[in-house]
């Protein structure tokens, strides 16, 4: 797999040190906002993913909170990135901090001086060099403390960004960090286990119900289904338009994208049971956010067409589309529903019970079910219902504890903060209903 080049219309990941951001490179004049810095993206076109670019100040405007800078990007090689300590040639350091006191006088440069320095210098190493030169205490700090200081300053003045191809791993991080609600609170460890327990792979037909993860869950499953395989995903959602941001960002081949069939839960179940293709009727949607009046026009989009996160914006452009698209998707989904699925994954904002009751009969026997919720009580009830029904065995309700570590010579310890809620997974395997008739 050769590294692809950056194209217009791509979703890209902009990385500046540890900060990452998902951004659409919609047109040649597109810009991206990175804190106070605005980046012009035109230089990215046709460059390979993974390239590093240098931010060059184009203009600087005084803003409410410090200067707002606009930058152009210039392709550069990784060799320009060097260890700041080596660049500055720092040799002396102190033993401990007994002689250092925080009196606000350590830095001789004033904030105006630094701001001016920033305008003049294009390189963060120059700025940091000046800061170190003018710091009264730097050389009495311990080596570790110096490193921390340099890291902190480098983070502030770092002038390089890397452009990366979106992957599930990178997007799961970005979404969860920006707002865990965006992905219904599905933490990375839980996401990884949903994929494992569901058994989703290159063979089989998989069923997913989710009520809003910005496309992360269907994208993760479709990613595991893979390109040029025979597996298919039916993605049921409660709204007018499926959330597909993560799916579109993955830049999957068309044939693979088409094996994710996104359908409205109500519409497809009605067609499945009643054999008629009716659009979902207003008021039926349980989607919590969108109170958009429903019409034919706002039916599920094709995976190839970019979908806005806000369905409202899409309405106007949707009217031109063939009204048959959602009907075709429903038809395809119904055929698979009759043939039965090889797993069921659910991440619902609604109570899982009734949805599960509707979808469980669509599964083959001896197949995994995986139900996610951030709320344990909902899964406790569902656990009991399943246990009593005798339709599912090997039931487990699990949660996770995940801790990150700082591992550095002589400075190894768990990270100071950790995430407290992994969410809960209810897992089990379906049993053959044939035995019920025998009894």
């Amino acid at each position: 797999m050769a590294t692809p080049n950056i194209q217009l219309g791509d979703y890209i990941i902009i990385q500046r040190q540890k900060y990452t951001k998902l951004q659409k490179f919609g047109n040649i004049d597109a810009t991206a906002q990175l804190g106070k810095e605005q980046l012009e993206l035109n230089a990215l076109l046709d460059q390979p993913y993974g390239s590093t670019f240098k931010m060059c100040v184009k203009e600087s405007k005084a803003g409410k909170r410090g200067a707002q800078r606009q930058h152009t990007l210039k392709l550069c090689s990784e060799t320009e990135l060097r260890d700041i300590r080596a660049v500055l040639g720092i040799s002396s350091s102190g033993e401990d901090n007994r002689d250092i006191c925080d009196n606000g006088e350590a830095q001789a440069l004033k904030s105006e001086d630094i701001e001016q320095l920033r305008e003049e210098c294009n390189e963060s190493s120059k700025i940091i060099e000046k800061l170190v030169e003018n710091s009264k205490t730097f050389h009495t700090r311990t080596e570790y403390s110096q490193e921390k200081y340099l890291k902190k300053k480098e983070k502030k003045y770092f002038e390089f960004v890397q452009i990366r191809l979106p992957s599930i791993r990178l997007m799961a991080d970005i979404f969860y960090r920006q707002d865990a609600e965006k992905v219904m609170g599905i933490r990375v460890d839980t996401l990884s286990q949903i994929i494992s327990y569901s058994g989703v792979c290159g063979f089989g037909n998989y069923l997913l119900y989710e009520s809003g993860t910005n496309g992360l869950l269907p994208a993760a499953m479709l990613n595991s289904i893979g390109a040029a395989t025979e597996a298919t995903l039916v993605h049921m959602h409660p709204g007018n338009v499926p959330q597909k941001q993560a799916l579109l960002a993955l830049k999957l081949p068309l044939e693979q994208q088409q094996r994710c069939i996104s359908v409205n839960l109500y519409s497809v179940l009605r067609e499945f049971y009643q054999g008629e293709a009716l659009p979902p009727i207003a008021g039926e949607s349980s989607s919590l956010e969108d109170a958009v009046p429903e019409s034919l026009a706002t039916e599920p989009n094709s995976p190839t067409e970019p979908t806005s996160k806000k369905p409202k914006l899409d309405e106007s452009e949707c009217t031109n589309r063939s009204p048959l698209r959602w009907q075709l998707e429903n038809k395809r989904a119904c055929a698979l529903m009759h043939a039965k699925f090889d797993c069921l994954v659910m991440a619902a904002k609604e109570h899982p019970s009734s949805i599960l009751q509707a979808l469980l009969p669509l599964l083959n026997s001896s197949r995994p079910i995986v139900i996610f919720s951030t709320c344990k009580e909902l899964l406790l009830e569902t656990y009991m219902e399943l246990k009593t029904s005798g339709k599912v065995t090997n039931l487990h309700l699990t949660s996770n504890w995940m801790r990150m570590y700082q591992i550095l010579p002589n400075r190894t310890h768990p990270e100071v903060n950790m995430s407290g809620n992994s969410g809960y997974l209810l897992t089990g395997y379906t049993l053959s209903s044939a035995e019920k008739t025998q009894e």
């Binding site: 058994g199 026997s365 995994p368």
Partner: protein, 311 residues
């Protein structure tokens, strides 16, 4: 077979999971006869605490069905890496689903991926790698123990996975991953006592366009040495973590609510006659078991960025 793709019915030669209870599962081979210790062909009878199972009788049965044992019943399930991990014959310590899931996610394994693994061990993780990368990817798995490598190779063949995996008997710390694999891997996974010794070989095996690296080690000193080796070679995005899964045991509890108010009143002679029944309240609860896994291993991940010169 039976590991390759979803199947509805048990075929002869399948590995089948005989599910008795949450704590009692067995992987059995669906063959009518087996050889006994003397080398004679005898009917395949599997013994359980609930009596025996004539294995021939389950061939052709639908997966997920209930099967009768002489003193009870069980369910037959199609095996998958999760169930296999819980039933496989242990030749070494193995890695379990929570760690494995994180490994697959962080290594970005998907169909088409080329993965290098060392050591093979009992093949618990290998089965997960194979599910994730088949049918278009390939797993190269190394173990320095000859018998373990042979047993793993046999298992993969029996499970219908042999076309997606190559098993090597080789000491990778000293000899590396063979020159044929130079620049071929999307991801390298190490579970070795001294991962730092294999890091330079992992570096060589990863593609020029870059790739992902993971090392699993029980002790933090191993991770420290490994990270040291990774930093020297230009790996970035180095991070270490621990993932522990907790079971929530679901139970309905009925708790009595005792009345203490009546103690404030002097005992009246009529109280015995009007004795109210104890109030009971029912709760659906969950609690963690008494003993939980407190440590499995430290997972260290890293990225080899693209275009790093390998000479």
């Amino acid at each position: 077979m039976s590991f390759l793709k979803p199947q509805t019915h048990i075929e002869k030669g399948d590995i089948v999971i005989l599910y008795l209870s949450v704590n009692s599962m067995h992987a059995i081979e669906a063959v009518p006869t087996i050889l006994n210790k003397k080398g004679e062909t005898i009917p395949h009878i599997f013994q359980t605490p609930y009596g025996s199972l004539k294995v021939e009788s389950i061939i052709g049965v639908k997966y997920g069905s209930r099967v009768e044992l002489s003193k009870g019943w069980a369910h037959v399930l199609q095996p998958n890496p999760e169930l296999w991990t819980q039933t496989l014959p242990h030749r070494t310590q193995i890695i379990y689903t929570p760690d494995i899931s994180m490994i697959l996610h962080q290594l970005e394994v998907r169909p088409g991926a080329v993965v290098v693994e060392s050591g093979t061990g009992s093949g618990s993780l290998s089965h997960f790698f194979l599910r994730a990368l088949k049918p278009t990817g390939h797993l190269h798995t190394f173990d320095f123990h000859d018998l373990r490598a042979t047993q793993a190779r046999d298992e993969f063949r029996k499970h219908g996975l042999e076309s997606f995996v190559t098993v090597y008997h080789r000491d990778v710390c000293n000899l590396g991953f063979t020159s044929e694999l130079d620049g071929r891997a999307d991801a390298v996974f190490l579970d070795l006592p001294a991962p730092d010794l294999a890091v330079p070989h992992a570096f060589k095996a990863l593609k020029l366009s870059g790739g992902r690296f993971c090392s699993f080690s029980p002790c933090i000193e191993q991770s420290q040495r490994c990270i040291n080796a990774l930093s020297k070679l230009g790996f970035n995005e180095i991070c270490s973590m621990e993932v522990l899964q907790q079971e929530n045991v679901v139970k309905t509890r009925t708790v009595p609510v005792i009345d203490l108010e009546f103690l404030k009143q002097p005992k009246s002679s009529s109280s015995e006659a009007t004795k109210t029944p104890k109030e009971l309240k029912k709760y659906l609860t969950s609690s963690n078991p008494q003993v939980l896994p407190g440590h499995t291993g430290f997972l260290t991940f890293a990225t080899l960025p693209p275009n790093i010169a390998k000479t």
